[in-house]
Symmetry: C2
Subunit: 225 residues, 2 copies
């Protein structure tokens, strides 16, 4: 019974997500859906990305949060546009919420759309938000075993950020081991190892964002020599 | 529509949880329901508790995990009894799962029952498992703001463990600030600040467990001078 209801909701969600995807494509927007456990560093990664790219890209962030607008305050303080979605305890964003948040926005003025999902490694995995890439962020203090424990999220993502690598000397966990575990679950993952604290690895991440946005703005470039 | 279904399920869950609570009381068992984000250190805290108390208390652990038995392997290696619940991607334990896991157990041989819930700060909050105390574990790397972002879990818990305090010199977060935020959300929380890595604060935690188990075994002692 519950499964049937969930399937119906998910089918409706998929249709809504496809409409969003088409709208993003028409406007040349690169859209990233960020999923992570609480405290993995999603907002800090968004802050670093805005601080570095705000002059060359028009960035819009949708902040999913169970109750607060703490992350929205951090993001708008850096000059990015932001929409807040409060789920009132709900454990994931869905495509309808994203569509509602964007309904009055002129998306022609956006290059990069970042969807910061609710801090949860399980529930958001089932919900397509119309994104181009799904990004899972994990951090070194969480341990080596998370890809095995939450395989849906790692399987359904295309990109992995391993954050807080500056803490490696103080922890029993290993960047290499987390990467190895994640690639065992999903060998197709594109992996970034970085620290938002000391900036290590950030330049490669920022260049990847630049490239993705360039390809979305001028899709034919991907076929050029 | 969805709310009605959830309410019906929760009512059924509450009845099942009350049956469990009665069974735990009849057998003099102290039952702890541990809730935390992935990687906060629930399993490591259980390991430290078993290593210190296994000779004086009969400990049974129920390991909730979306897919793996990694934590069960860690717990049984220390000599504790353990039951595995795999939720197959499900985001919380419910009372029916716990009752099924315990149906063939002689609970007369248990003093302390630890329920390690699924790594998730949102969904487990709504599900009573028949526990005596609900414990939320948060760790320093997760940041100062989690009590405000996940208030249901902090409000519905009686006990808070702030873990990984040994990392404070390497982080922008503060044990004091996390404690302050948590007590703003729920002033009744009993708070333990500890490090499972260097053992700081563990003795007070272990003494609290000893006291809770003693009171459940001999409830009249709480009224003695």
């Amino acid at each position: 019974m519950k499964l049937e209801i969930n399937q119906a909701v998910t089918h409706q969600n998929s249709q809504r997500a496809q409409q969003l995807r088409q709208r993003f494509r028409q406007n040349g927007i690169f859209c990233l859906n960020m999923i992570a456990a609480p405290g993995a560093g999603k907002t800090t990664l968004i802050e670093r990305t805005i601080a570095a790219l705000n002059r060359e890209l028009k960035i819009l962030v949708i902040e999913g949060d169970p109750h607060t607008h703490l992350d929205t305050d951090r993001v708008t303080a850096l000059g990015a546009q932001c929409e807040q979605i409060n789920t009132l305890g709900g454990c994931h964003l869905d495509a309808e919420m994203v569509a509602n948040a964007l309904k009055d926005r002129n998306l022609n003025e956006v290059d990069l759309l970042i969807l910061e999902n609710i801090g949860n490694l399980l529930c958001p995995a089932a919900w397509d938000l119309g994104e181009d890439k799904r990004l899972v962020v994990t951090s070194l203090p969480e341990g080596n075993d998370k890809p095995f424990k939450y395989p849906e999220t790692f399987l359904l993502s295309q990109v992995l950020v391993i954050n807080k690598i500056d803490l490696e000397p103080h922890l029993p966990t290993s960047t290499h081991q987390i990467c190895h575990s994640a690639l065992q679950v999903n060998p197709q993952l594109e992996v970034f190892k970085l620290s938002c604290t000391n900036g290590q690895g950030l330049e490669r991440w920022l260049n990847w964002i630049r490239t993705q946005c360039r390809h979305k703005r001028s899709p034919r470039c991907t076929r050029c020599p």
